[in-house]
Amino acid sequence: MTITDADGKPANADAIIYVVGFKEPPGPAPTEVAQKDRKFVPDLVAITVGEHIQFPNGDPFLHNVFSQSATRKFDLGSFKRGDRKDKDFPDPGVVDVYCNIHPEMAATILVLPNRRHTRRRPDGTYTIEGVPPGTWQVFAYTRRAAKPAMAPVTVVAGQDAIVNLALTRGAEPEHLNKYGEKYKEYVPTTYH
């Protein structure tokens, strides 16, 4: 699969490719999205409906995690280094999460109906194992994409199916804080 920026130049960005059309229960282990160096790591993650995400704070200062997305609104408060908060995601959809303290922190969570999803490799290829036979839709999504790329796929038992997808990224959209306001001008703090 290919990803290009709005100016047409190829971009080597993280992307998630997933199949929809059938449901599966979530896996046993919760997914983790860490807060490290004023970033969410990873900043793009796919989970299955009903799965939890843990948010550990690895920075020596407070972080917040909140979402105003219609799929899952929440506010985990502010918590210190070493603490972690947990949140469940009972409905499918896209959830954008931010930190109310640090405006540069943003991540996207794809809450998917099944576990058939994977990440794009650096060379642009991907493999999704275990897709049941049938005709489904395969999507690809990267942060900053205006919309996911989609193509139909027919899976036959014992055979590989190849789907080429192309995504176009835009600029990082400006977001508001949890009160619906613009962030105050950020002055980096020096820690001694």
Binding site: K73, F74, D75, L76, G77, S78, F79, D88, Y179, G180
Partner: protein, 241 residues
């Protein structure tokens, strides 16, 4: 004696005027919360000095200790006017209040019925020393779609070296979401003596309204007196940081 227990120190984020709600702030959330209330008494003896008008201004910083426990440190000022006498303004009390919500505050995961408890202690700084007003409230809220209902059952004590007085502070209300975050409803609230001094009893019923926007919220009710009070309006307001 009217006003045996100083005016009710009811506050915290709420859809209601006089009633406590089960809402709490997230961990390390911080708000300034305040209210202004009027209690315009009209006791059985309508000649002065039994008619007391009391205006209360209550102000508190409040923080979320964790996602279910909230702490506020209020101060309270009262302007009291007994008909036929000169009005008095007092710095009445300082204190602390803890509110604990027994279930998660996440609206997706929370059950329809939410129980909470609130405990307060106020030190009265007018009159004699060692004058305290502890209060405990049991709060239950129920959410069904756009309808929110709440019930309060509280007991307050007025404990000083000279006297003790106990009263129930109880009520119930309903709040319905209309457009955006604007809610309207009605509530009934009463302060009822649990001992022989019933002069401060009152009961009021009236409409309420609340609205939240961004970091601010406001709620109010206009209690129309049913017993020993003419009216009891109250305005609550808070802003988060």
């Amino acid at each position: 004696m009217v006003m045996a227990v100083p005016a009710s120190a009811h506050a915290g984020r709420t859809f209601y005027g006089w009633l406590q709600d089960t809402q709490v702030m997230p961990e390390r959330g911080a708000e300034i919360q305040t209210f202004i209330s009027e209690e315009n008494y009209q006791g059985p003896d309508t000649t002065p000095p039994s008619k007391v008008h009391n205006t209360t201004w209550w102000l508190a910083p409040a923080i979320g200790i964790n996602d279910q426990l909230e702490l506020a440190l209020p101060v309270q000022f009262d302007w009291e006017h007994v008909d036929g006498t000169a009005p008095r303004t007092n710095f009445t009390s300082y204190g602390a209040q803890l509110k604990y919500r027994f279930v998660t505050a996440d609206p997706v995961d929370a059950p329809d019925f939410v129980p909470a408890v609130r405990a307060t202690i106020d030190r009265i700084v007018i009159g004699s020393r060692d004058h305290w007003v502890p209060q405990v409230d049991l709060i239950g809220s129920y959410q069904s779609g756009i309808v929110h209902a709440v019930i309060n059952a509280g007991v307050a004590a007025d404990v000083s070296p000279d006297d003790q007085h106990f009263e129930a502070r109880t009520g119930a209300g309903v709040s319905i979401e209309t457009i955006e975050d604007l809610r309207v409803g009605a509530e009934v609230f009463a302060e009822l003596s649990l001992d022989s001094d019933t002069s401060g009893n009152w009961l009021a019923i009236g409409p309420n309204i609340s609205w939240s926007h961004g970091r601010s919220w406001v709620s109010a009710s206009y209690g129309i007196g049913l017993y020993q009070i003419r009216d009891a309006p109250k305005l609550n307001w808070g802003i988060a940081f």
